[in-house]
Symmetry: C2
Subunit: 214 residues, 2 copies
Amino acid sequence: MSKIRFQQSISLDGYSAGPDQSEEYPLGTGGEELHEWMFGLEVWLKAHGREGGEVNASTPVVEELESGYGARVMGRNMFGPIGGGDWGDGSWKGWWGDNPPYHTPVFVLTHHPRDPVEMEGGTTFHFVTDGIESAIERAQEAAGDEDVLIAGGANTIQQALVAGLVDEFLLSVAPRLLGDGERPLDGVGAELELEQVEGIAAPGVTHLKYRVMK
Amino acid sequence: MSKIRFQQSISLDGYSAGPDQSEEYPLGTGGEELHEWMFGLEVWLKAHGREGGEVNASTPVVEELESGYGARVMGRNMFGPIGGGDWGDGSWKGWWGDNPPYHTPVFVLTHHPRDPVEMEGGTTFHFVTDGIESAIERAQEAAGDEDVLIAGGANTIQQALVAGLVDEFLLSVAPRLLGDGERPLDGVGAELELEQVEGIAAPGVTHLKYRVMK
């Protein structure tokens, strides 16, 4: 049975991005450090076309996360610099170069219509203007029997949780405090019933996995 | 070397107490559920004079937490109902009956002076009116070679972290969202440098332990 799931690297105080996000610092002050546990992993380097790296307790977590999905959903602010308004000359094609590390359709939530953008390596960006439910529905169609991965950012995760559309999620908790920024679990309320699936300690991070009970 | 440490059971969204705290619900709406992982443990029941219970991966965590300390510090709102003002007729002696489960001196932060209250079983409540640093200093003197445990609540933890007085802490993350309430890591900023010591998954909770680097 295909699932709708997400993963977020968060600080100990719950932020997935720090304050003062900008084109230079898309994750805000300190936000990049939440992902440090991942950057040295062989599995991550390989996905980004590089060699070497480490194998540790995070490796199977990343391998599981990065397999079995057939489409992604992401917010406009994750696709491009904040406050982008309309698409201008259409030259912005995401942060990830000509061959993004997704290799599936990616459904981008936006208020501004745009034709799909086909990239190298199987990634196509589709732009969805009628909300999170529609984006996830279209992603499910595209994914077929495979999962839909909600990539972020915080606001998109919040919308999906509030709409009751998430089946499972993984929080990778970094040993950092950010003090300010965006929290993916804020504004979600207290209604969701959760079940702890597992907790895995790894160098510089602990992964917490939960199932949303229906 | 004796340490200053704390433990807090928190929700996945970082709250140690829910909204609408009252004498009937001192931990606010949903706050009690953050401690559910503990109530069935043999080690917890025994500490509260009862028999039976379970042994699981939380057992050594609780045993370590509850040993090796010689004094506690707690906030006024943890000692008694919120908004208590002065001590009235002095009949309020905490939530825990004649024989509180502490068995050490407990230093209570308050704006209202009060003579020490000696309970059965080795617990004496001392009332400290000149701030968190003074309370911890007095607790350290009382503890001698043993640790000082900051019991809570959220505001007292925040004060101790901001003052740079904490050496180590344990967060026990329950599979719950509260949506509102008090967060012990709020207002602490981004300055503290932390090291992940361990992460332990147990039934209904994951324990995350951190060291504060000086």
